[in-house]
């Protein structure tokens, strides 16, 4: 990168098998199409990890890519994507986390780190400006994440060095394993089993620090965009609840709409009162903080003050509460303890909670007995069983060894019809709220490119648009109707997927840019200001249309990846339960299910809007050409996978 730009300008590649360390210049034509973050990761994965490579093969990659705006000081731009072939879905996989690690990598001079191969013995990587070393990590192996981070900081004599590491779960190739930033103090690359792939490489941790400057191309434009951003969030009613309660705030919505999905996605209502956001705030909160450079400040530390788990502190996020509810848990101290336990062991709370809920339903239905559970009474809501099983999963001990495979694979092992209790999409456990009664949300879980995921799109746009806006943007007033609307929902879903992909490319927080109480504010933050920040930092001259098209391009790269792996329309589906079993104690619509007719109508409109083949759900030459993905066209043609 010759001009003054916030890109560091280099890619660092490390092969742990032969200890080769390689640095190459960032190719400007690659940058112009994929920008950074999830964009870099998705394309590098496509180009290098082909269908013959299995997730735990040495040839699989771990690709760490800070978003293009990470390290620039842009508000809430601190997220790093970690991309790999997922051991859960055996398709495209990635996790996203905030923290300082991405900025440290850029300060050391790199926009991307690619790790391949497998070390003979446990190692960690030290990136210290231009010095890159593969170091012995035998003394760290087996340690939990906080201890690992502490020991690394002591060993490197630097309390501020940024680390990512795995815990015991990743070491044991638990397919629900996560990668933690600075122990359990910062973000978590949680989804898709990314931590297990790191473990398969005998890679315990990566520490990074650097002293290089990040150059902003246009300081004045940067300051102006910054001011506009602050003015926008100052008037957005979405922000104050986030600042007051952190992500616990989502409870009120979940309760009012009755979409908990409690007890393995069966109950809309739940005895939630002990988990009221006010309870967490008044009884347990010891610290309010933020991710780097974020003015919204929705991070929270909660501490258990007394009793059996006294002294436990966790940076609790909403999804941990939600998945505890999936297991029938409504004790805030158990939720806090579960959060900390997962963080220390290096587990994804969502996948772990979802998989335990699956086991609890198997137990309830008599498919698992005490002889299978090492004597654990796996009733929904049993605190001890919930926490003990979490530890067993990380240790691959007893039933935990089966559940460590994730609910989909575990159901194949257990058999006896347990498959219908495994609530997953493409092998990834379900997240967020119950989709029954809200058809586009059901479709959004199905079309996500990394398995079930509410963060891969923003169908919540339907909540905040007027019928007039819906007609203008999505072709039908119906798109503004959450429950009954069908027409226009496919276009809305396609728009929202491309829209939030921009955030993952640039490293922007979803809450800070891609949620709002107003469609006007949403577009302003997530597209207009995101584009202004990108141009001001990098010296590019992207239009908003080009930025949006970049989001679309990346989504299509991931879709093409999954197509190459053999996925098609039959995989864009949600569990049968949501079509067949009414949500119990639903508040919105008695006997709510996902209407299969509406689901298919929205899915087909979505495929048409995407330019994919409606019958097979796979990309066409026309759309990939429009998105300048010619090498992918050639590859799919060669494999007979292009529609």
């Amino acid at each position: 990168m010759k001009q003054k730009s916030s890109y560091a300008g280099k890619i660092l590649s490390i092969n742990l098998s032969n200890r080769d360390i390689h640095v190459e210049e960032l190719d400007p034509s690659f940058v112009s199409l994929f920008l950074g973050g999830r964009g870099f990761g998705s394309k590098i994965l496509y180009d290098n990890v082909t269908p013959n490579i299995k997730p735990f093969d040495e040839e699989n990659l771990i690709i760490l890519t800070p978003g293009a705006l990470v390290g620039t000081g842009v508000p809430a731009a601190s997220r790093t994507t970690i991309t790999t072939k997922s051991p859960l879905t055996e398709m495209h996989g990635d996790g996203h986390a905030s923290g300082t690690w991405g900025a440290s990598l850029k300060y050391a001079g790199y926009d991307c780190l690619i790790v391949k191969g497998k070390a003979e013995k446990p190692v960690y990587i030290l990136i210290d400006d231009g010095r890159v070393e593969i170091r012995n990590a035998s003394h760290l192996w087996g340690k939990n994440t906080s201890v690992t981070d502490k020991l690394l900081k002591e060993e490197l004599n630097d309390p501020d060095i940024s680390t990512v590491c795995i815990g015991p779960a990743g070491e044991r190739l638990v397919r629900l394993a996560a990668i933690m930033h600075d122990g359990s103090d910062k973000g978590v690359n949680a989804r898709c089993g990314v931590g297990a792939v790191m473990g398969s490489k005998n890679l315990k941790a990566i520490a990074a620090r650097g002293t290089k400057d990040i150059n902003l191309h246009d300081q004045e434009a940067y300051k102006k965009a910054y001011q506009e951003y602050l003015e926008t969030i100052a008037i957005d009613p979405y922000v104050p609840p986030a600042t007051k309660y952190g992500t616990c705030r989502f409870m009120y919505h979940r309760v009012k709409f009755g979409i908990h999905g409690a007890k393995n996605w069966r109950y809309g209502s739940f005895e939630w009162e002990p988990l009221d956001p006010e309870v967490f705030r008044s009884d347990y909160q010891v610290k309010a903080s933020s991710c780097p450079m974020c003015p919204i400040m929705c991070r929270r530390d909660y501490r258990i003050q007394s009793g059996k788990y006294a002294g436990t502190v966790a940076k609790l996020e909403w999804e941990c509460i939600a998945r505890s509810i999936t297991c029938g848990i409504n004790n805030p101290e158990i939720v806090i303890y579960f959060s900390n336990l997962c963080n220390q062991l290096g587990l994804d709370v969502e996948g772990t909670g979802g998989t335990i809920a699956f086991a609890m339903e198997c137990y309830e239905k008599g498919l698992l007995g005490k002889e299978d559970t090492d004597g654990l009474d796996l009733n929904f809501g049993n605190h001890e069983a919930f926490l003990t099983l979490t530890k067993k999963i990380a240790a691959r001990e007893g039933l935990g060894d089966i559940l460590a495979e994730g609910c989909y694979r575990a159901s194949k092992i257990i058999g006896k019809g347990s498959e219908k209790f495994a609530i997953h999409v493409k092998g990834g456990e379900m997240t967020a709220g119950d989709p029954r009664g809200m058809p586009v949300r059901a479709v959004s879980y199905a079309t996500s490119t990394r398995g079930s995921d509410h963060l891969r799109s923003n169908p919540y746009v339907e909540e905040l648009i007027t019928p007039e806006e819906a007609e203008k943007w999505f072709g039908s007033k119906e798109a503004a109707d959450i429950y009954k609307g069908v027409k226009g929902k496919g276009r809305l879903l396609k728009w929202s997927e491309d829209f939030v992909t921009i955030g993952d490319i640039l490293g922007l927080c979803k809450f800070a840019y891609y949620r709002s109480a107003s469609f006007e504010y949403l577009k302003k933050k997530g597209l207009q200001l995101a584009t202004k920040f990108y141009n001001a930092c990098t010296g590019s001259n992207l239009s908003e249309e080009e930025m949006f098209k970049t989001g679309e391009r990346i989504f299509n790269v991931e879709k093409a990846y999954n197509t190459r792996e053999g996925a098609d329309r039959k995989d864009d589906i949600i569990p049968l339960r949501f079509f067949m079993e009414p949500l119990i104690k639903d508040k919105i619509d008695e006997n709510a299910v996902v209407d299969r007719g509406k689901f298919n109508t929205i899915l087909e409109e979505y495929y048409k809007e995407r330019g994919w083949d409606v019958n097979t759900g796979i990309p066409t030459r026309e759309i990939l050409e429009r998105l300048q993905l010619r090498s992918i066209i050639q590859d799919l043609v060669k494999r007979g996978k292009l529609a």
């Binding site: 009613p237 989502f250 979940r254 709220g433 949300r441 919540y460 909540e463 905040l464 019928p467």
Partner: protein, 101 residues
């Protein structure tokens, strides 16, 4: 003889409750009052900040707000919904319809 006023209970969710300084309030309203009248009443009680939070610049209610009367959702995006009449003992909740996680 004047008709008896109706008593309704209003639950305000964040951030409206913080602006109002209370989560719950009991209100006496005129017979025949609508949900639109209730919102006007709340705006006059709690002022400009409350209004800016609830309404867009166009004076329409921001569509992300969701109003429940006794657990029944009012289709707030339909302007006619504001004409829905309230009854004695109604419990009204006003909550931001913002899902996620």
């Amino acid at each position: 003889m004047p008709k008896k006023e109706l008593k309704v209970i209003v639950r305000l969710y964040p951030p409206l409750n913080d602006i109002a300084g209370q989560d719950f309030l009991s209100l006496f309203i005129d017979p025949g009052a609508t949900i639109g009248d209730l919102l006007s009443n709340l705006v006059s009680r709690f002022g400009e900040k409350f209004k800016k939070c609830l309404y867009e610049k166009s004076e329409k209610i921001m569509p992300a707000w969701c109003i429940f009367i006794n657990e029944k959702i009012i289709a707030i995006k339909d302007p006619n919904s504001l004409q829905e009449h309230l009854s004695d003992g109604d419990k009204i909740s006003i909550i931001l319809n913002l899902a996620g996680g």
